[in-house]
Subunit: 368 residues, 2 copies
């Protein structure tokens, strides 16, 4: 049977020279939603505009019979209903979440997978139970290395049949703001965001935030499943072990100014003052500055970065005045965090197309 | 200035032979959401999974200052606030909405535009004020031919700068279920679905349901704006006048059974009983039957079409038992309505890629 599965599910590949977007990539783009960039106007991404990346299918789960199983070291697994979880002390955290593959479609050569441009992002308030409270009850012992989260979504990826499953290092799992979340922006999770329960690991790329949780297991050795050791690793050749993808590196995006052409999405502005605005974030360290450019990154000027809002894991708004005069421009923006992490001018390439935080560029024409 | 706009905004074109999906098409696919087909499990499409097609940008509108202007024949234009509209008698209608370009990306040659596969659909309950009540108050006179709806979204399309604007024949505008809607599934419209107010014309393709309404005008001559006379017409050559796109022709879609491969979305099932299920709809006449095929349409058998639910404009669920045995299959489904309208085996081609309701095919492998 393995042979048959591997006939249907091929290894990853890179697009050939000049190869445009394939129908497989289009089918992924049609179901995995990006956030239209004008939604950067909102502090909290409106319902339905937050990005979505779903490896397999959205499961249909009956919350009345659903249980979360937690296998710790206390001897008896926990079996928690949604009501059990809702009865516990809760916490709400505002989180900017981004797909590790954001920007993949701009790489050369292009890894064939979900073809994100730059819109795989969103910010939401997640409410749930701190994970460490549940782990403490399940018993951690003294030997736990990783905590493994299993979702209900099932499929095949690169020949491996699996439930979506990820391990998280124990030290990360014990973070103050790591949640087993059952609400998004004050409403029960929608099916596509993990109903009835998902993991939220603020500051990490989206692959860590396992949706549709069914079980949590503590392990005494590092977890070696597909989504940790094959996928979501920065590799430069297919045989490499690579480095794991973890926290979100700094990124900033502009609200494209003016108005678009329907087909090309090219932006048009009129002469006069234009307020450039957008959002910036980093999962590594607090933001330090945002700079904008109107000449494609040849020269930069500092944007007005709004002060911290108390939401450490949420994006921050910036503005910069621009006086548009007739001509063509490439606007650009880059963010730098307090650890000195910044955005490169060129796309950093790797085989999976992960962690590409090249500066955002927006071509604009100012018509006389 | 016209010359400059037309330099930036080119005429429509067809993809060349063998031309894969372009980056322009990908950028449209990344922002215009499709409904993942497993969401066909739900009577009402969950928030955030309903399809979206936005010609320009999602406008940012302050509901406190927003007004709807209605220019009728009574002499004085109406100026209505959201509170004014909410104070009027309301009506709730369940509507399956579909984009007129659904299926476009499968056409040969492919019209270059939003590259839908089959997922540009969704069902919601819309609540609002019957349009005819507002038109009666604004005064229709005896000479009105069309009612023209203007949205706040602004951009350029094929060289024409415009607010999105559509005319609707008066007889259609007076229909029982045509609404000025301010709620979707019991919540205020989300920004991307037309906040604070949109038109809903049950049974018509999505282009008629103008979002972000700012004004309504009655006209004594047929409306000849871009979105009625250039776009949304079935033409076989670019110079033709063509026929207007109006009501939704019959369509049915299967929930893809089993589980998918991540990359190809190819479906895998195990031997044994599989319940095939999905949804079917027609904006022309009530549905009469749904048929399924497991041999790509060579032979058909009748599905169990669930009885009407009282929601004339909403899709209906169907089921059909299948006993899967090892092998490869192409599942197919087709709907037929009471007027005898049905789904063709091959994609009906036209230059805009509209009204393509070819039978839905789902390749499946049953592994031993």
């Amino acid at each position: 049977m393995d042979t048959r599965l591997s006939d249907l599910s091929l290894p990853g590949r890179l697009a050939g020279e000049g190869e445009q977007i394939t129908m497989d990539e289009l089918a992924l783009a049609a179901r995995n939603h990006g956030m239209p960039l004008e939604a950067l106007h909102h502090d909290l991404t409106p319902h339905g505009l937050h990005y979505l990346l779903i490896h397999f299918d959205i499961p249909v789960i009956d919350a009345r019979t659903w249980r979360l199983t937690v296998n710790g070291h206390s001897g008896t697994p926990l079996s928690l209903s949604l009501a059990d979880l809702r009865a516990r002390p809760s916490r709400t955290v505002r989180v900017t979440m981004e797909c590790a593959g954001n920007g993949r479609a701009s790489l050369l050569p292009r890894p064939i997978s979900q073809p994100w441009l730059v819109e795989a992002v969103g910010t939401a308030e997640w409410t749930g139970v701190p994970l460490r409270d549940v782990l403490a009850e399940a018993g951690l012992g003294e030997v736990t290395v990783d905590v493994v989260f299993t979702g209900a979504d099932h499929g095949v990826e690169r020949g491996i049949e699996q439930d979506y499953r990820r391990g998280l290092p124990l030290a990360e799992a014990l973070g103050d703001d790591v949640l087993l979340a059952y609400e998004m922006n004050g409403l029960p999770l929608p099916p596509q965001h993990g109903f009835p329960l998902r993991l939220v690991v603020p500051g990490w790329y989206g692959m860590a935030h396992v949706k549709w949780l069914t079980s949590i297991d503590v392990t005494e050795t590092p977890y070696t499943g597909y989504q940790n050791t094959v996928a979501y690793r920065v590799k430069h050749a297919s045989g490499e072990e690579g480095e794991p993808v973890t926290r979100i590196v700094p990124r900033s995006l502009l609200v494209p100014p003016g108005f678009p052409d329907f087909q090309t999405r090219h932006r048009i502005v009129r002469p006069g003052p234009v307020e450039l605005t957008g959002r910036a974030w980093s999962g590594l360290a607090p933001l330090e500055r945002v700079e904008v450019s109107t000449d494609g990154g040849a020269t930069w000027s500092q944007a007005n970065l709004e002060p911290p809002t108390g939401h450490r894991w949420a994006w921050r708004r910036f503005t910069a005045p621009w006086h548009a005069e007739p001509g063509t421009y490439t606007l650009a923006v880059r963010a730098t965090d307090a650890d000195g992490n910044t955005q490169p001018h060129r796309e950093p390439w790797n085989r999976g197309g992960y962690v590409n935080n090249a500066v955002h560029r927006v071509p604009v024409t100012c018509l006389a």
